[in-house]
Amino acid sequence: MHRNILWITVLFVLLTGFVKPRNFTVVTETKWLISESSSLSVNGTTNINKFACDIPAYDQTDTLTLSRGNKEIILSGDIRLKIQSFNCHNSIMTHDLRKTLKEKEFPHLRIRFLSLSEFPDLTAKPAMITGFVDIELAGATKRFQVKYLVSIDDQKNIHLLGSRDVNFSDFNLIPPRKLGGMIKTNDKLSVAFHLKMRDLN
C-alpha cells in the first residue's frame, strides 16, 4: 500500500513538475515616456469648505510600458510623487495635508500601473477605458480600478487622464478634524492625474 502511494506521488511529480506555467505572451509592446508637464490633483471637502491640492509638474522622467498579450493588456511602470510637492494654494492647508499624509515618515505617493481593459486606439477624440493601479500612500497600498481617458494631440503627445475617488481610511489615515470634531474633513477624496507622454517606438 505504502509503495503504491510512493509510486503515485513520484508519477504525479514527474507529470506535473516540468509543465511550464502559462506565460503572458507579448504580441506588441509600446513604451511611453512621461513628460514633466504631467500633474496630479486631489479634491476634497470639509464641513466648512472645499479644498483642491495639486502637484502641478511631475519632476521625473519615467516610462510606462504597454504590452498587448493574447488576452490581457498590461500597463507597467509607476510614478513616484513627492508629498512635499503638494500645493493646496493656501500655505496652512498645504502644511496640514502634508502632515495628514505623514510626509515625514512616508515622503512619496506611488501609483503603480497594472493593466488596461483594452488596447487604446490613439485618436484625437478621448477614448474611455479602465485599468487597475496600486496606490501606495502613507505606508499602505491599495488596488483600485481607475477610469481613463486616452487621446493623442497634433504634436503626437499621448494624454492619459485617470480619475478615481479614494478615502483617507483606505490608507489607514484619519481625515483631519479640529475643535473637537466641530470642523471635520470628509473621508472621500477625488484623485485625478494627467500624464502627458511621448511614444518611444
Partner: protein, 135 residues
Amino acid sequence: MKKIIVSGFITGCILFVFSYGGLYLAVKYFPSLFTEYFNPLFNSDGSRDVLFYMHAFIFSFALSWFWDRFKTLFKGMFILRGIEFGLVYSIIALVPVMWISFSALDITVAMVSSWFIYGLIQATVAGMVFAKLNP
C-alpha cells in the same frame, strides 16, 4: 467650599451648552471664519477631544474659586456684576495670553480676537450665574 464646587459645576453645565452650542452655530452659519483652523498647530486626530470638551468645566471651577475670593469687589445688579467680572478676567488673563499666543504662534489677528471675545462672553455669563448662585 461646597458653594464653590456646586456653583462651579452648575456654571460648567451652562457654559458647556452655551459655548459649544454657540461654536456649533458659528461653524454652521459663518464657515469662512473657521477655515484657518486647518492648520497643523491644531490637533487633528481627535485624541484630545475629551480635553477640549472639558474646557467649560475647567474654566467654570477656576472662575468659581476666583469669584468666591473676590465677589465683594463686584457690586450692583447681577448683570452688572457679571459684566465687571468678565472684563476683569479679560484684562488680567485673556489679554496677556492672547498677546503671547499671537506673538509666538502662526495665527491671525482675527483668530486671536475671536478667542478674546469668546472668553469675555464666557466669563461674563459665568459671572452672572455666580452672582445668582453665590452672591
